[in-house]
C-alpha cells in the first residue's frame, strides 16, 4: 500500500465485547496519531466497538520472519 510522504500506516485492532479478543480489522494512512484515531473510528464504523486501538505499523517487530510485519502475499498487494 502506497502512502503520502509524511504519512505513516497505522494498524487498527478492535473488539465488540469486553470478553472478545482484539482483532486486526484494517489499516489507515495518517500523518499523526490524532488523525489516525479519527480515521480509524470513522472508516471502520461497521460495528459498535467496545474498544478500538491503533498503532503505527512500524512499531511492530516480526518474531519469526525476515520480511516486515503485515507484508501481504504478492498476489494480494495493491
Amino acid at each position: 500500500m502506497g502512502h503520502l510522504s509524511g504519512e505513516r500506516l497505522y494498524e487498527i485492532f478492535a473488539r465488540q465485547k469486553r470478553e472478545d479478543r482484539l482483532e486486526h480489522i484494517g489499516t489507515v494512512s495518517a500523518p499523526n496519531p490524532e488523525l489516525a484515531r479519527v480515521y480509524a473510528w470513522k472508516t471502520y464504523d461497521e460495528a459498535t466497538w467496545f474498544e478500538m486501538v491503533v498503532a503505527p505499523r512500524d512499531a511492530f517487530r516480526s518474531v519469526n520472519r525476515d520480511e516486515v510485519p503485515f507484508t501481504l502475499h504478492p498476489a494480494e498487494t495493491v
Binding site: E7, S29, P31, L35, R37, V38, Y39, K42
Partner: protein, 279 residues
C-alpha cells in the same frame, strides 16, 4: 455559572415566554448551523487531500445532518413545524453563521470551520447537557460523543498543516478569518438571549462564560500548532466587531444581514426534487 438547579422543565410550555423564545432560537441556530456545516463537510468528500480525510468529511457530514435533524425535531415542542423549518424558509430566516453562507473553496478554510466553529457549536450544546429543560438531555449525549472526533480531526489537521511554513501561514489566515464570527456567535456580554437562558438554568453559562470555555478549548491547539501570536489575539478577543450584529440571527459584520446563498439554500432545503416527495 449555575451549579445548582432549582427548577426543571418537562416541556417548553412550562418555560416563561422570553426563555422559551431564547431557547427556541438557540436550538434553531444550532440546527441551521449544523445543517449547513454538514453540507460544507460533504462538499469535501471528493477533493480532500487524502482518501481517509474524505471519509472523515463524509462521516462528519452525516453526523451534522443527523444532529440538525434531531434539533429541528426538538422544536416541535415549541410549536414549530419541523417540515417548514427544514424545507420552506427563505435565506433571511436562517440563523446560520456568515462563515457558512457559501461553498468553502480552500482546505484551510474548512479546517477553520472544523476546529473553530464546529467547536463553538459543541460548547453551546454541552452547556445544554444538564439543562433545566429536560427533553434536551438525552439528545445531547450521542451528539457530543460524535463531536469529540470532529474536534480531534480539526486538531490533527492543524498539527499536520503547521508542519510547514506555507501550511502554517495558510492555517493562520484561515483561522484569523473565522475568529471574529466564532467569538461573536456566543452573543454579547450585555443582557440578551444567553443571559436569559443562564438565569433559568437552561444553559450552563452566559455568552462570556461560553466564549471563555471555547477559548480554553481551541487556544491550546493553536499553541500546539505553533500559532502563539494568533492564540494571543484570540485570548484578547481583539477581533470581535459588533458592527452589523444581528442578535436574533447571531451573525454580524458585513454578513449581518446576509444569509446562505441561493445554491446553498436550494440544496439544504432539498428544493430541486421536492416534487418527488409524495405523501
Amino acid at each position: 455559572m449555575s451549579s445548582v438547579r432549582t427548577d426543571s422543565f418537562k416541556s417548553a410550555d412550562q418555560l416563561s415566554e422570553p426563555v422559551r423564545e431564547a431557547l427556541a432560537a438557540t436550538l434553531l441556530s444550532l440546527a441551521d448551523n449544523k445543517r449547513i456545516l454538514g453540507m460544507r463537510y460533504g462538499e469535501w468528500i471528493l477533493g480532500a487531500p487524502t482518501l481517509e480525510s474524505g471519509i472523515a468529511c463524509s462521516a462528519m457530514a452525516q453526523d451534522e445532518w443527523g444532529h440538525g435533524r434531531i434539533l429541528y425535531a426538538t422544536l416541535k415542542d415549541f410549536g414549530l413545524d419541523a417540515g417548514v423549518l427544514e424545507h420552506e424558509r427563505p435565506s433571511e430566516e436562517y440563523l446560520s453563521s456568515e462563515l457558512l453562507d457559501s461553498t468553502i473553496e480552500e482546505w484551510p478554510d474548512l479546517r477553520a470551520l472544523n476546529l473553530l466553529f464546529d467547536a463553538a457549536l459543541s460548547v453551546q450544546v454541552e452547556a445544554l447537557s444538564n439543562s433545566s429543560y429536560e427533553p434536551i438531555h438525552f439528545k445531547t449525549r450521542k451528539l457530543l460523543e460524535e463531536e469529540r472526533f470532529h474536534f480531534e480531526h480539526g486538531r490533527g489537521w492543524a498539527l499536520r498543516l503547521s508542519e510547514t511554513a506555507a501550511g502554517r501561514e495558510a492555517l493562520e489566515a484561515a483561522f484569523r478569518n473565522a475568529m471574529g464570527p466564532s467569538l461573536r456567535w456566543f452573543g454579547r456580554s450585555e443582557a440578551g438571549f444567553g443571559q436569559l437562558l443562564e438565569a433559568a438554568g437552561v444553559s450552563a453559562g452566559d455568552p462570556d462564560f461560553l466564549r471563555q470555555a471555547w477559548l480554553d478549548r481551541v487556544i491550546p491547539v493553536l499553541a500546539e500548532a505553533g500559532l502563539e501570536e494568533l492564540a494571543a489575539e484570540f485570548e484578547a478577543r481583539s477581533e470581535i466587531d459588533w458592527s452589523g450584529w444581528n442578535a436574533d440571527r447571531r451573525r454580524g459584520g458585513s454578513g449581518g444581514s446576509g444569509g446562505p446563498d441561493a445554491e446553498t439554500l436550494a440544496r439544504i432545503r432539498g428544493d430541486k426534487n421536492r416534487s418527488m416527495l409524495m405523501d
